[in-house]
Symmetry: C2
Subunit: 277 residues, 2 copies
């Protein structure tokens, strides 16, 4: 999915919601456990219930990997049913030396080889340019680099500052900026970071930001929009637990839709206020 | 495998060699492609040929993941035949927010759930304490944190220095040090980093270091030992391509053994010079 297509989807759906598919077999409704592949069945119903309300889906790979080869198969089946009008993001946070990052890129981008052909992948920047560039080299795909994450541990290293007061996450944005462009590179910036969005926008005025931390983690959508929204929207705001685990009864998909719908309406107001829709 | 057991193995094998199993189906000898699972068969023969010469094996997960569920199955079969007197390291470079890192730890440590029960995993520190601690919480397992890696990109962020001249990799060691101890925590330090080992040892005098970058990447074993070896050895030096791809003919396992043996003899000399054996 190109940048123009993504912006188009945001405008027609009046939403910049990304739904996280962090599907834990121990948290899904009991009645699904009778299915041959309960994780896939859960995802299928969540996707069906939310597809018109969001512009992206983001399975976190850890949840699938924790079930070994069977989990990988649930992931493949899930990827295959993701709607083509939604950006598919492998939340994998990978990164390794060059020839190895190329293998990770193959794992998530090259359907012929791995069975998976995601549009985008999250990448950890710690190992530097040769760990990030192999992802950027895949034509028509997106690399989403961790900048300032939503968790408490983000303050351990990401805000480490040099003599000029440049913090590590700013250095990450400045450097990676020169390796990609706003059409193939995004950044992860946590919704819990409020005013740090101003600094992010100084260094990355046009890039899309993938924003976790709304909902269960306590970030504010209004604050994210105030400091992070651009004329093209420039935001994909993710919610996971507040949507997919809104209920663990037989009404889970319906309740997920209600939660997604509430967020979509809030997003529509923000888009309208900025004159984007 | 405990720290004492690891040190014991180093002394009886007179080796601190770790063999990397970065098995790429496009690089293994052609004659193996007739096997039902060529990647596993390659690993099986490499392991059989080198088990008495090394103290650890380290499959890099990217190479298995790039083949989807089938690759995950090759990894599981490989893990099952790793000798019990060798440390098994999942080179995965994972790291995510707390509940997600716990899933990754489950994926590689919890055999009952995922089919894999590695002794150790490599972890990327960028996301801070709650991304690293879930791995450390697994009893009897090792967490190996990236500090200063062997690739050229390591200089992009890992040597970023604060106002006191502390570089990011030193900050990573200082902080993670307080989350684990020399019996459950190691660091990755590239063999190509020479004198930086002195600084690493200042902050982590007793921790084992996992050292990639010997062989194909050009690091020097003598230099690593000069600056990094402790009274307990304190080093696991990895070689991958120089061993497993020493030949791509039918003699590949024999040639792998020759390369591993040459490194083992060099390591024995270093251990003897320090009075460890």
């Amino acid at each position: 999915m190109t940048r123009d297509e993504l912006i188009h989807q945001i405008k027609i759906k009046r939403s910049f919601l990304c739904v996280g598919l962090d599907t834990d077999i121990n948290q899904i409704p009991m009645h699904l456990l009778d299915h041959e592949d309960p994780v896939f069945e859960f995802n299928r119903q969540i996707i069906e219930a939310t597809a018109d309300l969001c512009v992206a889906y983001k399975p976190n790979i850890a949840f699938y990997e924790s079930m070994g080869a069977a989990g990988w198969e649930s992931l493949r089946k899930t990827w295959r049913i993701l709607p083509k009008d939604c950006l598919s993001i492998a939340d994998a946070k990978r990164g390794d030396i060059g020839n190895t990052s190329r293998m990770y890129a193959t794992a998530f981008f090259d359907e012929q080889r791995s069975g998976l052909g995601f549009d985008a992948i999250t990448v950890a920047p710690y190992m530097g340019h040769d760990s990030v560039q192999p992802f950027l080299q895949f034509q028509g795909k997106w690399t989403i680099v961790l900048a300032l994450t939503s968790n408490t541990g983000s303050l351990d290293f990401q805000t480490f500052a040099n003599t000029e007061g440049v913090r590590l996450f700013e250095q990450v944005i400045q450097k990676t900026n020169t390796w990609g462009n706003p059409s193939n590179l995004m950044y992860v910036v946590g919704a819990t970071r409020g005013q740090a969005f101003e600094s992010v926008r100084k260094h990355a005025p046009d890039h899309f930001l993938l924003v976790p931390g709304i909902g269960a983690q306590g970030g504010s959508l209004q604050e994210v929009c105030k400091y992070g929204m651009t004329a093209d929207c420039g935001l994909l705001v993710n919610a996971t637990r507040s949507i997919i685990y809104a209920s663990n009864g037989t009404d889970f998909a319906e309740r997920a839709r209600q939660e997604a719908s509430a967020l979509q309406r809030e997003m529509e107001r923000e888009l309208a206020a900025k004159g984007i829709v």
